[in-house]
Symmetry: C2
Amino acid sequence: MNYEEMTEEEYLEHCKAIAFARPCVTVDMLIFSMNKEQQLELLLIKRGGHPFKGKWAIPGGFVEIDESLEEAAARELKEETNLEGIYLEQLYTFGDVDRDKRARVISVAYLALVPAGNLDFSAGDDAVDACSFVVRQEKGSFTLCAKDRNLVLTEDDLAFDHKDMIFKGLERLNGKVTYSDIALELLRDKEKFTIYELQTIYEALTGEDFDVANFRRSFKKKFIDIGRVEKLEEKSVDFSRKPSSYYRLIK
Amino acid sequence: MNYEEMTEEEYLEHCKAIAFARPCVTVDMLIFSMNKEQQLELLLIKRGGHPFKGKWAIPGGFVEIDESLEEAAARELKEETNLEGIYLEQLYTFGDVDRDKRARVISVAYLALVPAGNLDFSAGDDAVDACSFVVRQEKGSFTLCAKDRNLVLTEDDLAFDHKDMIFKGLERLNGKVTYSDIALELLRDKEKFTIYELQTIYEALTGEDFDVANFRRSFKKKFIDIGRVEKLEEKSVDFSRKPSSYYRLIK
DNA sequence: CGAATAGTGTCTCTCAGACATTATATG
DNA sequence: CATATAATGTCTGAGAGACACTATTCG
């Protein structure tokens, strides 16, 4: 739309038309967690209506006029999973004109990292079909698997531009895992975890394997030497092998 | 606002009230460039009306119903500086309820990196007072200086939450400069630049000094060895000293 | 030649990757 | 004692930081 080539009449017409045509703003929630097999999972919901009926989508909802984006994200998360106090991070805002054919919708995507074992999407308000998909990252693409349903989604099986959202989300996780502490957010219990447990989270987030010795070395440097994490007396007795030490995040 | 504690009447009342009260969406442009003294500059405009009358603000405008966020950002940039084809990057979306007292405004902030010597804000459409401020970064804070006007702004001299936007912007520049190629976007001429010229951009973006020898070494490794940059025959003759080699970004 | 800027060589220290080795529990 | 997992030791090469040094131009 080039304003310079419009007549004044055309321009005023245009102004009137859009004065009442404000975009809708939503928050969309990329809710990640770890499953029992220590794999990265992402919560999706199945669309019941048009458009993209039957396809899988990232849960989300409108931003109310009296709540901030962060508040909207926290509310949506609670509605979906009944969880509060979860790590949230704004990811990216998607605003292509035709991304939703029904209306002009601008979506602010948020990342939520739910501690392992806490994700129970059946606790959500909405009576929608929800499912947590294992995220398998290859270079430049991903697939989403729901074993119990025998379902494998590729990027094109997703509604709207949610494929792009997931790409952005995985990119963010990949990038931040090494220079920030987001991996800790996915621990089952920050007050009691083993080093290997944390390593599996790093591996799930990056899609790469780490050498045990090197990982422990960098863990010590990054967390213990600084005093961010301390070793506990208690040791794991899960397996009938050498028990592993527990560690605790301080503060 | 807790929906669970509302009666149905209250809830419906609330729905009605907000149905016509959609937020406005704007794009705000953090327009960075390098001045003649190879310092980082940021373009601000002086507010003529309330609120924050007389304070300095980041330029921006409404997202039209028929343009994407990127298109809106490009349009705003053109209106402000008459420039096109400039590097743009979405920064962050600001959506606190009271960030603009007049109305609920959600602002998507964009970063624009204008090649040195190309920023002429007098070319803008609007008859507003605009000025490019030198950005001085200290750890945890910044100041903005306009020498010719004898003006020094601190964080609190900025309108709205634009202080936070600038923080986010500087943080992004700081972080990305080492692992991406954004510094190249600020070069006067990507087809003909000296290594030291690029170094000053790195220094301006990080607020830190680099060792010449080490910078050249990493420059060679990062750009020349890979074939992303080639050395030109032509050499600079600006000063009456040893001339420096020019380099060219390929593709 | 002296001054000023362009550009190089080299030493050290840190750290990541690879891989061998030791430690400790149970059956 | 065999076995499986936890945890440590060590070698190497890449790369960042510090700093001394050489190179090239002009007046």
